[in-house]
């Protein structure tokens, strides 16, 4: 089962998704949240941004970098709504890891829950990587979670990965339900000390 998976490295071709403050309403428009499973979410990824007014695919990066595994984004990616549908859609489309300048917190947490490394680097590093991906659409981009580096072409660049995310992925403990379930008796003790929890 997935919860045992150690994620030390992910990689594949890249897709640059440029722009700051790309919110989860862009990533997964609200009208597609009306399904009770995540199964079809890949079909709705950036649904509006990827299409012209007549419904035909436009030149959005997702239409041009089919098969990519690593998304390269800019500042405050995934802001707004907490919908896990957004990273679920990215994962189901094929994204295994994200490199960006920064991430909204809930989005980053959702990535962790799904075992998707979301790593950060400064503007210059990220922009250079986006440019390289544009020039090398078939080039391999690797996120080394264990060593906190991203490798592409001849480059090895340092990236930041939140220590909790790094430990969780590398040690294969990113499924927090299993992890926390084993502490249920401690949870009950903590709850019983709270004046507002009925005994």
């Amino acid at each position: 089962m997935a919860e045992d998976q150690h994620i030390t490295e992910v990689g594949g071709t890249g897709v640059p998704i440029p722009g700051d403050d790309i919110d989860t309403d862009q990533i997964l428009p609200a009208r597609f949240l009306k399904e009770v499973t995540f199964r079809n979410m890949a079909d709705y990824l950036f649904f509006d941004a990827r299409r012209d007014d007549d419904g035909a695919f436009n030149d959005h990066p997702l239409n041009r970098y089919e098969g990519a595994s690593v998304a390269v984004v800019n500042k405050n990616f995934g802001c707004g709504s907490s919908r896990e549908h957004a990273p679920q859609a990215m994962m189901r489309w094929g994204i295994d890891g994200v490199v960006g300048e920064s991430f909204a917190e809930i989005f980053r947490d959702n990535c962790k829950s799904l075992g998707i490394p979301a790593v950060t680097a400064d503007e210059e590093t990220v922009t250079a990587l986006q440019e390289w991906v544009r020039e090398h659409p078939d080039g391999e981009v690797g996120i080394d979670v264990e060593d906190s580096v991203v490798r592409y072409g001849d480059h090895v660049v340092d990236v930041d990965i939140d220590s909790a995310m790094r430990e969780a992925l590398v040690d294969g403990i990113w499924d927090t339900t299993a992890l926390m379930y084993s502490n249920l008796s401690k949870v009950e003790a903590t709850a019983s000390d709270l004046p507002y929890v009925e005994q």
Binding site: Q26, S82, A168, D171, T177, V187
Partner: protein, 487 residues
């Protein structure tokens, strides 16, 4: 690192243990559930053969997908997907023993409106919900965080989330609110000043004279939009305003038990000498009514001031964002938002869907009419809000002015039901997000503002400084009548 703040105290009280990856396992004292983000979590729970660990600390309602037209709420709902979602929720809460405020409960509404008004949200709690506006509950001096669906599964199965402590930023709101300026303007100002990602990695503690004077519904509006500034949680320290608001509410203990509970509430407030990671001052003196001019909630301007030119921003990223906003909104350099054409007026949501919001808007609408080419929706945040408004006759003010007086739900904030912008319509909205496509149309435009400003825009058909609104038509009608006679 912060010390002695409410955040530190509440965190310590709820910390179960440290997890191997360095995060804390944190007990969630109140888990709020709605139909859109929970069905997958219930399925995951079932796959693992687990039960809801703390059903008594879990409360559900339905808000995102419900129709707000009275005659469309009969079951089955006309929208098959909506019916499926609602049925799934009903089945899930029934099986799990979770209290559910359904369409026929008289208490249904937006989670972040329902929980406060029933007294479920209290000081010193941790609150989680699969919705980013869970920051709202911080108004009571609790820690409220929005979570994703896998984390909902965590809370169902274990009563906990895995989390790491954030930095605490004290936001000192100084000065006083001028005429026509409301709590909504306070939070828009904060986001304008600190940026839409300024709060990433932080929790906001709102304080200072403006917050001290503010009533609970105002504090709820401010805390609600913390997430719009990048802060997952924001709170106000509890005080007498908080305690008096809570007294007598359904889920709040009475008599001696109230006093005991209050002692806990008082014990969690930040110490006078608490240490913060940083302190920021936001001065409200001289601030005019604010509106958004762009496509993120930090693109804010005083209604009568020129919209900032893209080139006026220091950072290239802000210039790019401004150009994108100009393009989407159709601005020209030198424009002001005052006079910007409005097609739809939308009043409601978890930000501004409470009784005082409708009162403020009604005060503007009294004796006035909605412009003939404006579609105006008043959507109470809950059935309780709707009932309170009707008891006070506020609904009649809205209906007489030409507003549609709807049933409770999230409605046109994100258009998951039939309430949607069409084409490139512009909406004067009391909601919280002006993202492209947010209100249901890719070309739609959203201008965020206070409820009073929404009412003013509804009347004139354009973004309007509520302080400069012409006197009500009714007061002038004598003069106009005479004119007609003379003709």
């Amino acid at each position: 690192m912060s010390e002695g703040t409410l955040y530190d105290t509440v965190w310590e009280r709820h910390k179960v243990t440290e997890l191997p990856n360095g995060q804390d396992q944190l007990f969630v004292g109140l888990h709020l559930v709605h139909e859109v983000t929970s069905p997958q979590a219930f399925s995951m729970l079932r796959e693992r053969g687990m039960d809801v660990a703390f059903p008594d600390r879990t409360f559900a309602t339905t808000d995102h997908i419900v129709p707000t037209e009275d005659d469309k709420r009969d079951r089955p709902l006309a929208d098959d997907q909506a019916e499926t979602m609602l049925s799934a929720l009903e089945r899930n809460v029934e099986e799990s023993g979770i209290t559910f405020f359904g369409l026929d409960s008289g208490k249904q509404g937006i989670t972040h409106v329902v929980a406060p008004e029933l007294g479920l949200s209290q000081p010193g709690m941790t609150v989680a919900c699969g919705d980013s506006h869970t920051s709202t509950h911080g108004a009571f001096g609790s820690i409220g965080v929005g979570i994703g669906t896998s984390q909902i599964r965590d809370v169902f199965a274990t009563g906990c989330i895995a989390a790491e402590k954030q930095k605490v930023r004290r936001i000192e709101v100084t000065g006083s609110l001028g005429e026509g300026v409301y709590p909504k303007d306070v939070v828009l100002r904060i986001i304008q000043q600190l940026g839409v990602d300024g709060g990433v990695g932080h929790v906001y503690e709102y304080g200072g004279p403006v917050m001290r004077e503010m009533d609970m519904e105002g504090r709820l509006a401010v805390c609600n939009m913390s997430i719009e500034g990048g802060a997952r949680a924001g709170y106000v320290n509890p005080d007498e305003t908080t305690y008096e608001y809570l007294r007598g509410r359904e889920y709040v203990p009475e008599g001696e038990a109230f006093e005991q509970r209050k002692a806990y509430w008082e014990s969690v407030a930040s110490d006078d000498d608490a240490t913060y990671d940083d302190v920021v001052t936001v001065d409200m003196d001289g601030v005019d009514p604010l509106v958004t001019w762009g496509v993120n909630p930090g693109q804010v301007v005083e209604v009568t001031e020129p919209i900032p030119a893209p080139d006026s921003f220091e950072a290239e990223s802000d210039r790019t964002a401004a150009r994108k906003a100009y393009d989407h909104m159709g601005h020209e350099p030198g424009d002001t938002m005052e006079g910007y054409d409005v097609d739809v007026a939308f009043l409601g949501t978890c930000t501004n869907g409470r009784v005082s919001d409708f009162e403020q808007a009604a005060a503007v609408l009294e004796g006035r009419s909605v412009a003939s080419d404006v579609r105006a929706l008043a959507v109470p945040g809950s059935q309780t809000v709707k009932q309170r408004c009707e008891e006070r006759g506020i609904d009649e003010t809205f209906i007489e002015a030409g507003f549609q007086w709807r049933e409770a739900g999230c409605s046109m904030c994100l258009a998951m039901n039939d309430d949607s912008l069409v084409g490139d319509e512009t909406c004067a909205s009391s909601s919280n997000r002006n993202f492209v496509g947010r209100q249901g149309s890719e070309d739609g435009r959203t201008v965020l503002m206070s409820p009073a400003m929404v009412a003013a825009a509804a009347v004139t058909g354009e973004v309007t400084d509520v302080r400069r609104l012409d006197p009500p038509a009714r007061a002038e009608s004598g003069g106009e009548g005479e004119g007609e006679v003379a003709d």
